[in-house]
């Protein structure tokens, strides 16, 4: 009797949830592996605290794949309601008015806008209108192996601050076997070639005082001496033997995890994963600077699609606002390493508790003032692949740095020109 009562009760509860959850929202995201549990936890907490809204979170592959799927979804008129988009991909959809302009909601709560970190906020504003809320923002940090630093007689609490220091340390951290083979490399500045291609190379150009595009995005400037200089410097790390010239990015990360590479640039979004999974002591530091101190600002944002009903829009707004509130952005930061997006979170007492637990999370926050968003436009994915191929040609010694970037700039200019005529 007792049991059947219980079953009836649960069924009723179940039915009730569905009856009251009158707004059902589909949320597409790109958070795999270690970030997914944290995201799922946030979503389920939202659902339990908001009985009238039910959010269904679905993983859709990496950022680039999400773009493809969303484009296809628009064609088949089977779109989600909320989508996590890389801040660099927002333009692909705002160009055709497929994302909801959030101005109306923002003006309802004026304090909200000013609480977002200014440089993050700028990344979601296109032609003066906000189209998303910054959610998982990261910057590129220098990851290093403290154990290897100690073994090489270096102070593990003094990471390199300039390119020169980095080169000197990398030399000390490079270890050769008696037969002359290198068994440990000091540095691997790997650059990704698929999702978020060219990401790790951009700060090198900026640090060398260069630019990738002119300010109106009509001309590619990688053929200028500053960018070419950065490429030459990058190449010299392979030539000097302090970097492995023959590894793919995946193999390089693998080698870094195995303690065969001492330093390398990685996204702050992976700090917690690294802390939980690396058998050795991880150090995280600001990227070493050269002529300028700068790092890349990347990551994702939460956007609402423009083709949903006003009722759903309200609910979706409630959701993305909730996901980025002070408490949740701190939870997200602690469990992934993605930066807190709210000023109130950065100034909170809780963040100090997080730093006490995971001191490696702190440098990423300190890097915020130096983080620069990546240049974007509609054809950015193709352009980045061209730039990535150029530096690969240099690494494989097929072209000189001058020629590689000159050819690439020409190709990119052609795409930009076609874009202007569209």
């Amino acid at each position: 009797m007792k049991r059947s009562c219980f079953v009836i009760f649960v069924t009723l509860l179940f039915v009730a949830t569905f009856m009251f959850a009158n707004v059902r929202l589909v949320f597409w995201h790109s958070m795999a592996d270690y970030q997914k549990p944290a995201l799922d936890k946030l979503v389920s907490e939202f659902n339990s605290t908001h009985p009238d809204i039910h959010v269904v979170a679905i993983y859709e592959g990496n950022y680039d794949q999400t773009v493809t799927k969303l484009k296809a979804a628009f064609l088949s008129k089977n779109t989600p309601d909320i989508v996590q988009l890389n801040i660099e991909h927002l333009r692909i959809f705002t160009a055709n008015r497929q994302l909801l302009d959030l101005s109306r909601f923002i003006s309802e709560t004026p304090s909200l806008k000013s609480d977002f970190v200014d440089s993050f906020w700028k990344t979601v504003v296109i032609n003066g209108k906000p189209y998303a809320l910054p959610f998982n923002i990261s910057c590129l940090m220098l990851f290093y192996n403290k154990d290897l630093f100690e073994k090489a007689g270096l102070d593990p609490n003094k990471p390199p601050r300039t390119w020169k220091e980095m080169e000197e340390m990398a030399k000390k951290l490079t270890v050769h076997a008696p037969n002359g083979r290198t068994i440990q490399y000091g540095l691997f500045w790997g650059v990704s070639g698929e999702d978020t291609a060219f990401y790790q190379f951009e700060p090198l150009i900026w640090q060398n005082g260069g630019k990738i595009f002119n300010s109106s995005m009509t001309k590619c400037l990688v053929d200028q001496p500053q960018a070419v200089g950065a490429l030459k410097r990058w190449k010299s790390w392979f030539d000097k033997g302090i970097s492995p010239a023959n590894m793919t990015l995946q193999e390089g990360i693998q080698a870094f995890m195995m303690g065969k590479i001492a330093m390398g640039p990685m996204t702050s979004g992976g700090i917690r994963y690294a802390l939980d999974n690396l058998p050795w002591d991880l150090g995280v530091a600001m990227l070493p600077s050269h002529k300028a101190t700068v790092t890349t600002l990347g990551g994702g944002s939460l956007a609402i699609l423009s083709n949903i009903s006003p009722e759903k829009q309200e609910a979706a707004w409630e959701f993305i606002k909730w996901m980025t509130n002070t408490k949740n952005t701190l939870y997200w930061y602690e469990n992934t390493g993605y930066l807190p997006v709210r000023k109130s979170a950065l100034n909170s007492l809780q963040i100090r508790l997080i730093w006490k637990k995971f001191p490696q999370l702190k440098p990423a926050v300190e890097a915020i003032p130096y983080a620069r968003p990546r240049p974007v436009n509609v054809d950015i994915i193709e352009i980045r692949h061209i730039l990535f191929n150029a530096i690969e040609e240099v690494r494989h010694r097929v072209k000189t740095p001058e020629k590689a970037f000159k050819d690439a700039a020409k190709k990119v200019d052609k795409i930009l020109e076609l874009e202007g005529s569209k």
Binding site: L75, E251, E392
Partner: protein, 318 residues
């Protein structure tokens, strides 16, 4: 008059029988095909409205260096996979033909296993074998005292590697597939051999023993029997495999996407379908990608017609 009506009624029946299949094929093959053909004359990014550009996509493709490079890499793949798959398939079929041998069934299963393995799983397995740091291939090389090889990140063609010893630089077309491409070719061969083996086994079993008996009476050696009886009578199987493998090899994509998602070192594993996929689903140049697809289709069609015209004559049908 009556016979005509009967004929009509009969054909109605026939049409009704084929209609389910015809419907499915129309919806999933012919309609997309026609739609793609129309789109290949437009520029379209999947979001904005398509713009008619005439033959521009086709001329851009034919003038593009990347397109022809992809064609070249596809040829390397086909030329690498095809002969080895056929030769090894025949070799294993000859070994496994004897039904009286113990455990033939088990061996047949073992050789057929790679065929039913998902190409994705196989590609991931190969990635582990040839990984730079932890791969078995490099581990074995180190065990025998030689240098580890960066299998998945060497863009140099293997013929060029050989000629490097004599300081000769070959023209691009003759440099051969890159080492990374060779690993992918190896995977292709590994997956094809089982299929070829099974087809050849069936072919071998249909050859009547009387030919061999007659040859024995004439005093033919084993080699002569193979060369003058087995091989010619297997030619229908060979012809079938040739066509199937050429079509499948031109369309290789899965292993490439898994093993070298960025297109391999210096794009040397970017075969034509990979190139097409990138243009369509990474760069959203849909119209251009469809033009490339039709160029590829035209190419495969020409090749197949050529094979039927010129090679089929040499096939011995019993």
């Amino acid at each position: 008059m009556i016979s005509k009506r009967k004929k009509f009624r009969d054909s109605i029946k026939g049409y009704m029988f084929i209609s389910p299949t015809a419907l499915v094929i129309t919806v999933f093959v012919f309609f997309p095909l026609i739609y793609a053909f129309i789109m290949s004359f437009h520029t379209w990014n999947m979001s904005s409205a398509p713009i008619y550009v005439g033959l521009r996509n086709y001329t851009t493709a034919l003038k593009s260096v990347d397109f022809w490079n992809s064609m070249l890499y596809t040829f390397y793949y086909v030329l690498g996979v095809l002969p080895f798959s056929l030769v090894f398939g025949l070799f294993f079929a000859l070994l496994l033909r004897d039904n009286t041998m113990r455990g033939t069934g088990i061996y047949r299963v073992i050789y057929f296993m790679p065929v039913v393995t998902s190409p994705i799983a196989a590609a991931m397995g190969f990635n582990w074998i040839f990984e730079n740091q932890m791969g078995i291939a490099n581990h074995l090389l180190e065990k025998i005292g030689s240098q580890p090889v960066s299998w998945l990140s060497t863009p140099t063609g293997i013929l060029q590697m050989f000629f490097n010893n004599f300081n000769i630089a070959l023209p691009k077309v003759l440099q051969g597939p890159s080492l990374t491409m060779c690993v992918i070719i190896l995977l292709g061969i590994w997956q094809n051999v089982g299929y070829a083996t099974v087809v050849y086994l069936a072919g071998l079993q249909s050859i009547s023993d009387t030919y061999y008996e007659a040859a024995s009476l004439d005093g033919a050696t084993k080699w002569k029997k193979f060369w003058h009886i087995t091989l010619p009578l297997l030619s229908p199987s060979t012809f079938f495999l040739l066509i199937m493998f050429i079509i499948a090899s031109f369309q290789v994509f899965g292993p490439i996407q898994i093993m070298t998602p960025a297109g391999g070192p210096l794009n040397t594993t970017s075969v034509i379908v990979f190139y097409l996929y990138r243009q369509a689903f990474s760069y959203y140049n849909m119209g251009y990608a469809m033009a490339v697809a039709f160029l590829l289709m035209g190419f495969i069609l020409t090749m197949t017609i050529f094979q039927f015209r010129f090679l089929e004559r040499k096939v011995n049908y019993e």
